[in-house]
Symmetry: C2
Subunit: 358 residues, 2 copies
């Protein structure tokens, strides 16, 4: 695809193209489309809206094919949701990390508009035995697998039935009030608020209701982590976003003036339950103090926070940290857990500032 | 472990030690222990028979711990079974193949003696919901995963309930009439006739009855292949042995005399159903003729075959091939399917001989 790259976006890989947002991502509660990160697994498919069809199949009572007109017949809904790539921030893990080397801006928040998925699932009628729904994109290609194999495949991801039928999940056709752009899944994509971005399948072409867990490439070899079970470890697909926060101001390496009062600010998101608190450390994580939550709470969007800091009168380097906590008591960890590979990189991220005398 | 390496065995990797059988493996229907391949994933655990315990746990009515004495209380049984490593023959796939570079002799046939697993499962009482049994070895260690992670784990593998309760599956304590050697799982291992070797967990320490499919390392990242499902591809554990045959005589590169009558021989094994036919080609696979099945049929052991060939009076190179077929019509393929990675390498293997004038 020929892409008019916004000067706002930064390439992190090409063919497939993966682009990260600019620093300004952390300046606004809703991310402009041109500053929204782009994650592609294959070439962007060219889709003609007239001929596009979404097939709803598998264990359903009334299989259907929907076109743009049929989707329009459903009632539409808007959800503000933050989408973060499951590999966001992995560049900080060093060379050991596999995958697109995202820094911290493979994240954005949009007002997503479209049809609640469960309306469509209600209409086709899910069989009693259905445990998962598979979502297949129109993007496909050939990948080399870790074991030396080669595999031609479509992008596909599944959701457990309870999440697929939750009210917040959309077949989205709009982003910030405008029709989706090709890079973001035109004409329709899944949007799964609360889950990492890999679940929000773009260029949606099939929905398959299945009675067994789906073990596709993008939830076994890719986008999966190791978790303890039976005193052993098992492979599980990456799913819900873990709790995390980011310092938008100041940025790493920034100089600030001794003695001044500055407002540290950023966002916090993810985790089960709302963001209940954000704490800030100005001594490299030794001690933390509460920040103020700002703006309004949207259950699936990031929450702004601020912390007023009187910069000490001691020139030199200082390490700032932020740490978020949810209502369920989930807190950002201090260190990355490598059982996750280079996914779910939500450990507290130190930001170095340089205090200068005036 | 300090190992007295038989001069018969050939190292294919060290730490963990993996050893392949000698050419003579294909000279006898039952493989002597000293010529039987050794596949280790971690260091061989040192186990004292007095203190060894096998815990049977999970969704069972009467969890138990068995020692050597308790195992002896069950009725014993002997099964002749061929065990082949799932990666056997991968060295022929070239550099693209990952894993221990086995040639063709990570295979052997033994008379396995021990307690039918289903006797033990009957005694503990499996819950109605149980779908799989997990078998855990006493061997453990740390592995680097494909995604850059590090994972400490035990060797563990599961079987679906129908196979775990089949009459041929043993908790084996003996091999060819002698107690198991350390390399082969002393004091007790699982033996799963009909499945590749990774299922026959050595140094058995736990059996866990579970209500969900198990997604351990050795059936997702390792020992798994890609198979089609829903017009997509999914990851599935390697399981039953595919149909395969091997030419034991002559060997690759061997010289034979023009005009003589020689008996080509070898073994055929694997597949669903018994070996029904073996065919031989003396023209590089262009045409095949039936070979004779020799010896007796043991349902889980390889079957000997022979083919009398009057070597043509034309000095030069010739390519010989063998191809097995089961009663279910499963036939060896001509080419490797890379969706399997470097597992289940059962394609027809050409053997080159040099015909010399006398």
């Amino acid at each position: 695809m020929k892409r008019e790259v916004s000067r706002e976006l930064v390439y992190r890989s090409r063919q497939p193209d993966n682009l990260e947002g600019p620093r300004q991502v952390f300046d606004a509660s809703v991310t402009p489309v041109e500053a929204f990160f782009v994650r592609n697994h294959f070439d962007v498919p060219e889709i003609d809206a007239e001929s596009w069809r979404l097939s709803v199949e598998g264990n359903v009572e009334r299989p259907r094919e929907l076109g743009v007109a049929e989707l329009d017949d459903f009632e539409h809904q808007t959800v503000r949701a933050t989408i973060e790539c499951a590999g966001n921030s992995r560049a900080h893990l060093g060379e050991r990390a596999q995958g697109v080397p995202w820094r911290d801006r493979a994240i954005g928040t949009a007002e997503w508009g479209g049809v609640p998925l469960r309306e469509v699932l209600d209409e086709v009628g899910l069989g009693d035995e259905v445990v998962e729904l598979i979502f297949v994109g129109a993007d496909r290609g050939t990948l080399e697998t870790n074991d030396g194999g080669q595999l031609e495949m479509s992008y596909a991801r599944s959701l457990p039935r309870p999440k697929a039928t939750a009210e917040e999940v959309l077949i989205a056709t709009h982003m910030n009030g405008e029709p989706l752009e090709a890079d973001h899944g035109f004409p329709a994509r899944l949007v799964v608020p609360g889950w990492y971005g890999m679940a929000s399948v773009k260029w949606l072409s099939r929905i398959i209701a299945v009675d067994q867990r789906f073990d596709g490439y993008f939830q076994t070899e890719d986008y999966a982590t190791w978790v303890p079970e039976h005193d052993l470890v098992v492979r599980r697909p990456v799913g819900p976003m873990a709790v995390k926060s980011h310092i938008g101001f100041p940025i790493d390496g920034q100089s600030i003036t001794a003695g001044e009062a500055v407002v540290l600010r950023g966002y916090a998101w993810g985790g089960r339950g709302n963001i209940e608190a954000v704490e800030v450390s100005v001594d490299g994580g030794k001690s933390y103090e509460p920040a103020d939550l700002a703006g309004t709470n949207h259950p699936f969007a990031w929450r702004a926070w601020e912390y007023e800091w009187v910069v000490p009168d001691e020139p030199g380097e200082r390490i700032l940290c932020s740490r978020a906590r949810t209502g369920d008591g989930e807190v950002q960890p201090d260190h990355h857990d490598w059982r996750r590979g280079a996914y779910i990189v939500n450990a507290v991220r130190p930001v170095k500032v340089v205090i200068t005398g005036e």
